[in-house]
């Protein structure tokens, strides 16, 4: 197992090859992109834009952190968007003035607990399906996504739930959002780099058969990865719902590609065994940087979509090239 795989620092490359490490590579991409595009982007170099960029990158970072943990095991969690919606309407239902705890002091804490519980419940179902029933992660989580997205729409008849308490909505802005996302990111990072479970997760993703022979409880580790991912999706739903001020049954319906793209851009392998939370943060940052600048530039929607796709493809190609150089050396 390499240093990358365990999350610990591996043997440092010599000279310029250090720059090809995933974190420095994506950091370099961010800096180069900002330096090249920033001066031509109106309003890019302003405090307000930095805040906007950060606030809207944080929920995606929380989601991508959960996705990173699952991808390290060699799996994928496609159900995240349905967790966003389910948690959103569950929490909003509790908190809204016409809800069971509406207006009461316990409304927000109860809603937060319910939102995390909803995410954890979907997560553990995914985990059991993948680890115990040995369903392919793609199918298990795709099925969950379909079912729980439909459930959210059915429960609400497609209607948003609101208004939500101001105290809850404040969680989606600075500094609350930073605190929540930092806690989630630090928790995920410590889990992967400082605990025995973290080592099991890398081992399960790197070579599950070898891990099993070595005494790693692979099924348990994989199930816990999905539980963790579901819980973080519930937490991301808190941020997204607070930012929108409404419980939405279609929350995040189109975010799946963003989550996977940002995670993979950060250097996490789709095949398992490699990935780290700080890398993911940088992947999310690069992804949102592209979004932000293209939106600030005076481009048409269709141009933005094409340019965004082209930039992500270029980044992925550079990443492949980087890996080849590292492997050949």
């Amino acid at each position: 197992m390499t240093g990358d795989a365990t999350g610990a620092a591996g043997p440092p490359g010599a000279g310029w090859k250090r720059l090809l490490r995933p974190d420095l590579f994506v950091l370099g991409l961010c800096a180069a992109y900002a330096a090249l595009v920033g001066p031509f982007t109106p309003g890019f170099f302003t405090v307000r834009n930095a805040e906007n960029l950060l606030v809207h990158a944080l929920p995606l970072f929380v989601l991508a952190s959960g996705q990173t943990v699952v991808m390290i095991t060699g799996g994928i969690d496609l159900s995240m968007t349905s967790v966003l919606a389910l948690s959103s309407i569950a929490g909003a239902w509790v908190m809204t003035p016409s809800g069971p705890l509406g207006g009461g002091p316990a409304a927000v804490p109860a809603a937060l607990a319910l939102m995390l519980l909803a995410g954890a419940s979907v997560g553990i179902l995914n985990g059991l399906a993948v680890a115990r029933l040995r369903m392919p992660p793609f199918i298990a989580t795709l099925t969950a996504m379909t079912f729980f997205s439909g459930l959210a729409v059915w429960l609400t008849q497609s209607r948003g739930i609101g208004p939500l308490p101001a105290g809850f909505n404040a969680l989606g802005r600075l500094p609350g959002a930073v605190g929540i996302a930092a806690a989630a990111g630090a928790g995920a990072h410590l889990l992967l780099s400082r605990t025995i479970l973290g080592r099991w997760l890398y081992a399960a993703g790197h070579n599950p058969r070898a891990a099993l022979v070595s005494g790693v409880p692979v099924a348990l580790a994989v199930a816990l990865a999905y539980l963790f991912s579901g819980t973080l999706a519930g937490l991301a739903s808190v941020l997204y719902t607070a930012q929108g001020g409404t419980g939405s049954p279609v929350l995040g319906q189109r975010l799946l590609l963003d989550v996977v793209a940002a995670t993979v851009l950060g250097g996490t392998s789709l095949f398992g065994g490699r990935g780290r939370i700080p890398w993911t943060f940088l992947g999310v940052l690069f992804f949102k940087l592209i979004d932000n600048t293209l939106n600030l530039l005076d481009l048409s929607h269709f141009t933005i979509m094409m340019v965004k796709g082209g930039l992500i493809l270029t980044a992925a190609l550079l990443d492949t090239l980087r890996n080849r150089i590292l492997e050949s050396s």
Binding site: F281, N292, N295
Partner: protein, 330 residues
Amino acid sequence: MRIPDGFRSCALVAALLAAACDAPAGGPRPLTVGVSFEILQTEFWVAALEAFKEELGRRGLRMIQAIAEGDANRQIEQVQNFITRKVDGIILVPKDARACLPILRSANEAGIPIVLFNRPPAESDARSVAVVADNFALAKETVAFLVAEARRTGTRRKAMIVIGDLGDINAVGRRDGFEAAVREAPDAVEVVARVPSEWNQEKAQAGVVNAFQAHPDIGLIFTSSDFLLPSIVSALKSAGKYRRAGEPGHVLLGGFDGDATAYGMLSEGYLDATGVQDVDFEVRACVQAILDWREGKEPPATILDPGFVIHRGNLEEKAPRMWGARVRKP
């Protein structure tokens, strides 16, 4: 204590952003209006975006645009970007009546006039102007025309409505307009199917096919948007019921929006009527509201587009005002 490399990298990024924040933000700029659409899923939205481009250009204003791809949170982020760019006005097609409230408040705080196109916001203390079609009245008038046609043929019709996404207040208004019209005509119409589409063509088609299996004698269909017409046509063809007005077995068909497909079907006699949203009126009213607001006038919170019902009898007269007639496909 050793600091992990990843966190050092993150700290570097933070420092880079912080340093960048002090840079100056640019010089004089022309009057700019940010136009944020929830999605460009249908011809209606594409036509409206083009109409904004034309109208703003005609008045010497600059337009910047953002499309949220159906994501309310992305739309919040994009409008924040408009505010960062210090636009002089914002025109918004919100994803959701409630989820747009943080956007309205941000615009209010920044002192930027904000006008909602085609979808009103939920009730709140935030100031905005909404230019909307009178969905209820226009849908009711359209369905009343179909009911009159049913009476004229002398047969009591079984009816179906294809409902939009009930999270969209426009869909609710159109459904309610349909219900109000059929409630007044129990002698001519009996509603046997209410098909939810969530503004999705595949769901609409599946629902219409199922409804025809359950009630093969459905004789009147109202769709809450013309962009669902291809799904209905496909289902009618499968059931062998796609016939022109005047032909035996013709199913009375009505729609809403006035898109290019509807214009084509009206011209060919397959569609009986559609409620047309007057896009030109709505676009002009939005831009005028922004300018009035900037000049310190107080435009009304809601500006209603009465729209009009177009049918074969008035097609020639009304077609020049039908946006779908202008973007008709070759």
